[in-house]
């Protein structure tokens, strides 16, 4: 029990660091990077629980593999969007993407 908790706390810390970065940084590429941090944190938690639990071997680690895969796809598309946007607006400041302002 004890060991698992430490890993989970680590995951939470990393997650919150990433969250802060997503909310606070202006450069949109840094935001994407912090998003990856958050995903990693979740993965750590997932794997930790999967490894420490009694019964159902393997499912957790498999799931974390899926997460990694999806994260890759997501980063790709996200950065493609950023680059396309950059071509039109010539900026990567998140503040300046406000055309949907109401």
């Amino acid at each position: 029990m004890n060991a698992l908790y430490w890993w989970l706390l680590l995951a939470v810390m990393l997650f919150c660091i990433g969250a802060f970065g997503v909310l606070a940084r202006r450069n949109v590429i840094v935001v994407v990077m912090c998003l990856e941090l958050m995903l990693n944190a979740v993965n750590i938690a997932l794997v930790a629980i999967a490894q420490f639990r009694v019964g159902a071997p393997g499912a957790g680690t498999l799931f974390s593999l899926f997460i990694i895969t999806l994260a890759a796809a997501e980063v790709t598309v996200g950065l493609a969007i950023v680059i396309a946007n950059y071509r039109n607006k010539r900026t990567v400041q998140a503040d300046q993407y406000d055309q949907l302002k109401g």
């Binding site: 997503v22 935001v31 998140a94 503040d95 993407y97 055309q99 949907l100 302002k101 109401g102």
Partner: protein, 637 residues
Amino acid sequence: MGGTQSMKIAVALIPLLPLAGFLITLLLGKRYFRTKAHILPVALVTVSAALSIYAFIWAFTHQDSVFVWNAFTWVAAGRFSVSWGFLVDDLTGIMLLVVGVIGMLVHYYSIGYMKDDEGYYRFFAYLNLFMFAMFILILANSYLLLFLGWEGVGLCSYLLISFWFRKKSASQAGKKAFLVNRVGDFGFTLGMFLIFMSTGTLQFVGVFSKVGMISSGTLLWICLLLFTGAVGKSAQFPLHVWLPDAMEGPTPVSALIHAATMVNAGVYMVARSYPLFVDSHVAMLVVMIIGTFTAIYAAYIAMTQNDIKKVIAYSTISSLGFMFMALGAGAWVAGIFYLFAHGFFKGLLFLCSGSVIHSMSGEQDMRKMGGLRKKIPITFWTMLIGALAMVGVIPFAGFWAKDEIIGGDFTHGYYVVWAVAMITVLLTAIYMGRLMFLTFWGENRADPEVKAHIHESPKVMTIPLVLLAIAATGLGLLVGLPPDGGWIHGFLEPVFFKVESEPFVWAGQGGALMLASLATVFVGIFIAWTMYVRRTELPGRLAGRVPVLYKASFNKMYMDQVYEAVPIRSTIAFAVWLWTFVDVKVIDGAVNGLARLWELAGERLRPLQTGRVQNYAFSILAGMLVLVVVLAWVWGS
């Protein structure tokens, strides 16, 4: 009491035929019937008249029994249940005779009078609708069904008064009639409520059997409220103001509705409610006083009117006053007798005046008439008969009936009323004489083109005149002799069962009263003769000497102005206030204010939409935090 199958058919058809006539003529008349639109309505109403006579004969041969037929349940709501039912007794028989015969004659007359009018089909449709409503009114066996007919005739009155609706004065007159009537109807409705509350039913048979149960205070209120309806419908003071204006309608309408049938509805209703009134002495006093006052009031106004139809209109109001005077004084049979005779001779007078107007190419002002005696003889002679009947010259119908009323006042002890009635008789003779002399005697004062066109009316108009004149002559003798003991008295005895009447003594008090009223009539005719034929400068001089009296009479005692000043002004002011304050400020303000509120809210919330994803992400994270806290709280405990 039972009814035969044929009576059921007759009674059902009498109102239904005109109703069918109305529907068909109204829907198809404009396109298909046009100038022939009179054929169906006239035929149907003739059949109805024949059936009315049939029903009358039934009543005549079954004098002590009553035909009651509940056709179907009309209203069933909890404890309240009324069926659509008919009642024919002796009183109904008389009314059927009046309504059926006169209605039929007016229809024929209208063929000639309304020829070339662009609303020809509409006129006959409305006439038929009126007949339907009037028949329902007199055939009804419950107050509710009577009220249906009551409202129906009011509606038709409105439709027919404002028949020439493009004329502003006509449409206003129609509105006036309907609104004033409504005031009376309101009282009638309250009376019906009270009746239901005290007896639990609205059917005549039920109500009258339970009269003993009603406390005298409630009974008084019931009678007064019902009488209010009669005041409105039969144009008594103070709800009489609509009748003179109603002369805007075509003359057949005036004859039928405002002389012979609709205005009688009030009298009929009071007579039908005899068991209620006879137990409430105070109510009968009120009826008598209002009737008497109205009689002399209207006669006073009639003396100075220049429009021939207005004179006859005020004359009608005065006659109706006489009828209520009779009912209130306890001379029930006399009142109904007068109603019966009056229907014929007043209808005759109106139709004759219509003939005069027709021959004068539409001129209605008597100051422009004169000397028509030789030029339109049939109209003259029939109108003369009608006038003589009206003022009460022996042996015409009006004499016997009116005399019985006046006699009844005296014998029942109402001497003041008797005196007022005598004065009214005098005034009546004066104004009727004035009407006849101005119209038919002397020099013709019309415009030259009108003068050249003076002609007698077509047969389809004059034949009804002749028929009615015969009735006006003979009815009194046939039906009312000897006074208090004639056929009509026996006929109506089962209806007015509590009335005692002393036998009439020719040589005693009865005879003396009769002579007195005859003498009064001749004095009045002589006065009129003097003023309007022999020394025609007299009226002007008299009017100059007592201008106040003359003006009061000419201006209808300023009643219209009183109405305008008090209720009408304040109602309009109230309506305007409701509009400018309540509707514009309050209601619109609330609705618009609500809209503004949402608008403002939207404006205030707008900045939340920054368009920046990071702001939205912040909200998501914050929300998630809240959720976690709440869930942990809930699951933890």
